[in-house]
Amino acid sequence: MDPLSPLSSLSYDVGDFLYVIPIAIPALFGMIVLILDIYLGRGSNKTPLALTSGLGCLLTAVAAWALWAPATGAPVMAGTLAPSAFGAVAALAILIGTTLIGFSVAHHSQSADGVGVDLGRSIAHGELYGLLLFATSGMLAMTIANDMVTFFVAIETLSIAVYALTGVERRRARSAEGAMKYFVLGAFSAAFLLYGMSLLYGATGTMRLDVLAETAIKPSDLPMATVGGTLILIGLLFKVGAVPFHAWVPDAYEGAPSAVTGFMSIGVKVAAFAGMFRIVEGLGACGALGADLAGSPVGSWVLWFVAALTVIGGNAGALTQRNPRRLMAYSGIAHTGYLLVALVAFTRQFGHSSDALNMTYAAHDAAAGLLFYLLAYALANAGVFAVINHLERRGEDVDSLDDLAGLAHTQPRSALVMAVCLLSLAGIPGTAGFLGKLWVFRAGVASGDVGLVVLALMASAISLYYYLRIVVIMYMREPQAGTAGASSEDPQRWCSRLAILVAGVLTIWLGVYPPNAILKLVVDGAQALVH
């Protein structure tokens, strides 16, 4: 290469840019959608936008599978990215959320009779899809970020987009309120995250996670690194909605339109968990998770307590909720708790325990379990919110579980998918959620956290109550006059019906006979993270 060419000043191979493609496609399509919206005009049918963003997501998924899945997790782009199958699976889960949620709101701009146009309720304008796609871009970057700067920029990209999405329905005060709370607290947590990163940099002199993992920190610097690492963990625990950093979740989920809630509950959580595992891998390896306590770093014991509080708090909170979005918010917190069980199992490998080999196996299981669980969770949540979106038209909110009464009689297919997805969230065998839980809890048992797993199992037994209550309401109660459930189907909503169908079918498919390609990808992903 010509030494004077601009490319020659790069310290990495130009081919590395290939790995950026899956991050770039959603951003590109976000802009395309924004432009396309201008030509469509306001109040028109926004199905083309859904289709365009769906195409973008599909391309991204293909690119992620083709480019990231074969990569080994070695750093590229001067160490800012580390693509691997781990990122590919997380990307798939995120894209499931974006696509299905995007499809399920395509009809929102259209009023029921197709004559009038209800702009007030219309959230499906170009900006919605644009923001969804920009956020997706940030999420994807987060799953393979290998550098804390990249990581932080990615997390802020998705956060800014999601803050705006939360407040997208300006007419409702709750939407604005939720967005404001989420923004203020989000900024608060970002400060923790950033401060932690700077302390960690101060202690180790590197921003790169792979370098961090191999850094031997001087004993005198270790407290600083530990505090920095803990601050980062706190910032991320906020993002995933772990107790006691969960207070924003119910308010933000309730305030946001159902579509955005669905997207938040999937994308943000998947990206945050993927990022958290990658960061924890670095933190743990360099000893920034604290000194050893009974064979594992004290940080993992702290996570143990956070996980316990989260499964209890999430499930207990959901028990008495009547608003479906608030219920799903607590349900999301509960699932954070289950995934934190995997994180605890994952962190056990960093201690100086006597059976280090077993702990490595447990960590491998935990990472694989996390990935499968994220896929299952994304599908199930997408299904639930797709059905809720499907019902929320003509300005009718699904603000109470009673609005779902008799859904099985008026819309049997939607009700069936909703039931399947709820059962998957509850972890009933035959659904993807069961296998996910099984995998994660197995990791917990393998790492010796039997008590935590028992607690999580008991909590998930409680969760059956509120999930099944919805099923009971749908199947055993008479439909109320004039509720969303009573409205007839109309042919223009094939987009949302497709989303519902896909979520239901995939949930069962992954639960009954998970395809080998997916399982291999999941195991490869875990392999890339745990050597």
């Binding site: 404001m180 709370k181 203020v184 607290l185 608060f188 947590s189 923790f192 270790l222 407290p223 530990t226 505090v227 803990t230 601050l231 963990l233 706190i234 906020f238 107790v243 006691p244 950093f245 207070a247 924003w248 119910p250 308010d251 998770l289 604290g290 000194a291 306590l293 004290v298 940080g299 702290v302 956070v306 209890i312 708090g313 499930n315 207990a316 909170g317 959901a318 028990l319 008495t320 607590y330 409680i462 109550y465």
Partner: protein, 765 residues
């Protein structure tokens, strides 16, 4: 590698199973013709397959042995000097103890326990080079053990359970013992299916299909029971037949009484099944110690070889055998669990014939025969388990036989008779006359099926089960009369019929057992009990025929219809079974002639290699000389014949001469006779006693305790509601935090962050 016939093993089970499935799923929509064709064809095909296997086994016995297990002995080389033989054997034994592929720790056997070292291990043991080297080093040679099992068919569907060193295969084995039972099950089963097509002909289509579906399922379960290669597979069949029995007793489930009878049978059987499960655990535990780390399986062959006569863990083995026998008392209706069988007569009569007389109830006999090598040596605190078996059998035989005399319901007579005959079989088993017991089993299957099917025809004709309202049927249904008369005579042990020989064989075995050196005097009592039972049997058999067929017809009342003869589909099985009842005698013609060896009877001889023999296990069993044996044999036959004939004569005297003209004269007898009759009619008040002592207290106290206190208060209110309440309280508590104030939320954040940071930091520095 495997003989072609092996494929028949799964097929034999599959065919009735498919029949059951077909009729269960589609039978309702199809005509009765198709349903009955499928249902009848299934056991018939299975019978042909079983027959093919029987001849295959016969042919294969002349071929090489195909066995998973081999037994070899190490014995002294000829004319060797050096250290003493016991010392060398002991050294070899210590060295061999380190091998983990042996099924049991090697034992020194022979006269004074110092002649040979007996090894039980995998089939490769005989040609094992290491073993030969070891033997050579100690101046010993490897020789195959004297007794080797005859060939069996084995079909392994694959490993079912494999946990650690515990491994259970889904395997089926057909050997001489199981093939006999298979032939009986499918053969008698076929005839009863055929009979049922007419007997149940009046039922609506759905019920008809359901009936045959259950019946086929029963055949399949019973086949699983006798073909199972290990205890666990046997247990599948064991539970399967229990379930079918329950379904068929309560077949007419809309009648609450009959449904209750089904429940009773099921519950009592479950109590016994618990014994089987616990017994299985005990034997497994014993095996675990015997094999010391080797592979554990519940395979019969392994269990028999490893635990048979083992002195290690004698307590566990004894307890296991006793528990298994407890299970047998449930399934085979022996004291103390016999009380369900008379109630099982609530089911359709062909069901009683098939399940509650011919096949299922004999499962207990089969189990003990199957595991006879273990049972033979098992002792519980010094008492041989087989002694207990014989005692229970003898007592059951006598008391149930007496109870049969007091019954008016024709099926109840037969039910108590069945209990009594099963007691006979256990007596035989207890005396280690496995062959005799199985012979009685086969003969009993034939004649009791005849009697039940005949009774069914009678009930079909008169629409009543009470013998008081029968009588004089000889003229209306001659075929039924003659076949039933043959059956009853066989049951009574009338000379030269099958029952005569089979009973005699059992009694002879008991007598010989009593003659054994050091045998307990109780064996004489048991012999007398058996003899007495023979007399009682003859009495009630005669009474049955007399009350039903002799004299004048008492039923119908004024203008009542006269009973009709049995239709052909019902008559044909009766006829065939009648012939079989007579023919079965050939299987056990006694070894009377002086040139015949003791135990040379056809069936016992056939079974001898697969069941434990008295001479193998009882050291003190008298070496009965041929001469002495023949003397006992002839004497026993004469005594047995006398008891039987006397019984028939008494019956003839009472019921043959004066009863027929009067309706229910029995109820008019007075004084002591009446109270005896009352006791017998109520079967010694055992039901009432159990009810008062066990069932009612259980209902009153235990069930009240479990239901009101444990279930209602503790579980429902405490655990279920309590969990719910705690969860709801917790849920309401979480709401307290959701104030909506963003500053408050930030405060939680800070508190959480400080706690986490402080704990990590303060611990780490």
């Amino acid at each position: 590698m495997f003989p072609k016939e092996t494929a028949l093993l799964p097929a034999i089970i599959l065919i009735p199973l498919l029949g059951a499935l077909f009729n269960g799923l589609f039978g309702k929509r199809l005509g009765k013709g198709i349903v009955s064709t499928v249902a009848v064809a299934a056991p018939l095909i299975a019978f042909f397959f079983a027959a093919a296997l029987f001849f295959g086994l016969h042919a294969a016995d002349h071929g090489p042995l195909l066995s998973q297990t081999s037994v070899v002995v190490l014995k002294a080389k000829k004319d060797t000097a050096g250290s003493s033989l016991p010392g060398r054997l002991n050294k070899a034994r210590r060295e061999l103890g380190k091998r983990d592929d042996l099924f049991k720790i090697p034992e020194i056997e022979g006269k004074d326990r110092n002649q040979v070292l007996r090894l039980v291990g995998p089939a490769s043991l005989a040609g094992d080079e290491a073993l030969k080297t070891l033997a050579h080093r100690h101046n010993l040679v490897v020789a195959p053990a004297a007794s080797a099992a005859p060939r069996s068919y084995r079909y392994n569907l694959g490993t079912w359970i494999h946990v650690g060193n515990f491994k259970v295969d889904f395997e089926f084995v057909v050997d001489r013992l199981s093939i006999i039972l298979m032939l009986v099950i499918t053969g008698v089963g076929f005839l009863i299916h055929l009979y049922s097509t007419d007997y149940m002909g009046a039922e609506p289509r759905g019920t008809y299909a359901r009936y045959f579906s259950y019946l086929n399922l029963f055949i399949a379960s019973m086949l699983v029971l006798v073909m199972g290669g290990n205890l666990l597979i046997l247990f599948i069949g064991w539970e399967g037949v229990g379930m079918c029995s329950y379904l068929l007793i309560g077949f007419d489930y809309e009648d609450a009484k009959k449904a209750a009878c089904g429940t009773k049978a099921f519950v009592v059987n479950r109590i016994g099944d618990m014994g089987v499960v616990l017994g299985m655990f005990c034997l497994l535990a014993a095996l675990a110690e015997t094999t010391a780390g080797g592979t554990l399986s519940l395979n019969f062959q392994t269990l028999n070889l490893a635990l048979g006569g083992s002195t290690l863990n004698a307590g566990l083995i004894g307890a296991g055998c006793l528990l298994l026998f407890f299970g047998c008392t449930g399934k085979s209706a022996q004291i103390p669990l016999h009380l369900w069988l008379p109630d099982a007569m609530a089911g359709p009569t062909p069901v009683s014939a098939l399940i509650h007389a011919a096949t299922m109830v004999t499962a207990g006999i089969y189990l003990i025969a199957r595991m006879s090598p273990i049972f033979a040596g098992a002792e519980v605190i010094g008492v041989p388990v087989l002694g207990i078996v014989a005692l229970i059998g003898g007592l059951t035989a006598f008391f149930a036989g007496a109870a049969a005399i007091g019954q008016d319901d024709i099926k109840k007579v037969l039910a108590y008779s069945t209990v009594s005959q099963l007691g006979y079989m256990f007596l035989g088993v207890g005396a280690l006359a496995m062959g005799a017991a199985v012979f009685h089993l086969v003969a009993h299957a034939f004649f009791k099926a005849v009697l039940f099917l005949g009774a069914g025809a009678v009930i079909h004709a008169t629409h009543t089960q009470s013998m008081r309202r029968m009588g004089g049927l000889k003229n209306y249904m001659p075929t039924t009369y003659w076949t039933m008369a043959i059956g009853a005579l066989a049951l009574a042990g009338f000379p030269l019929l099958s029952g005569f020989f089979s009973k005699d064989m059992i009694l002879l075995a008991t007598l010989l057992r009593a003659k054994a050196a050091g045998a307990h005097w109780i064996w004489y009592v048991l012999y007398l009990l058996g003899l007495g039972t023979g007399f009682l049997t003859a009495v009630y058999s005669t009474r049955l025929i007399g009350m039903t067929f002799w004299g004048d017809y008492r039923g119908g009342g004024p203008g009542g219809r006269h009973p009709h003869a049995a239709p052909s589909a019902m008559a044909l099985p009766l006829f065939v079974l009648g012939v079989l009842t007579i023919g079965a005698a050939l299987l056990g013609l006694p070894a009377l002639a002086a040139w015949m060896e003791p135990g040379a009877e056809i069936l016992p001889h056939y079974l001898a290699p697969v069941v434990a023999q008295a001479s193998d296990y009882l050291v003190n069993y008298p070496a009965v000389s041929s001469e002495l044996y023949h003397r006992y044999e002839i004497g026993g036959l004469l005594v047995g014949a006398m008891a039987s004939l006397f019984g028939v004569a008494v019956g003839w005297k009472i019921w043959g001469s004066r009863a027929p003209s009067q309706v229910g004269w029995e109820s008019q007898v007075s004084g002591q006779l009446a109270s005896i009759r009352q006791v017998l009619a109520n079967a010694w008040y055992y039901d009432e006693w159990v009810n008062k002592r066990f069932v009612q207290p259980a209902v009153l106290y235990l069930s009240a305790l479990l239901w009101e206190h444990v279930d209602d208060n503790a579980i429902d209110r405490g655990l279920v509601d309590g969990t719910g309440r705690v969860a709801v309280q917790l849920s309401l508590f979480t709401r307290v935090f959701q104030t909506g104030h963003v500053a408050r939320y930030a405060a939680y954040f800070v508190v959480g962050a400080v706690v986490i940071l402080a704990s990590v930091h303060l611990y780490s520095i």
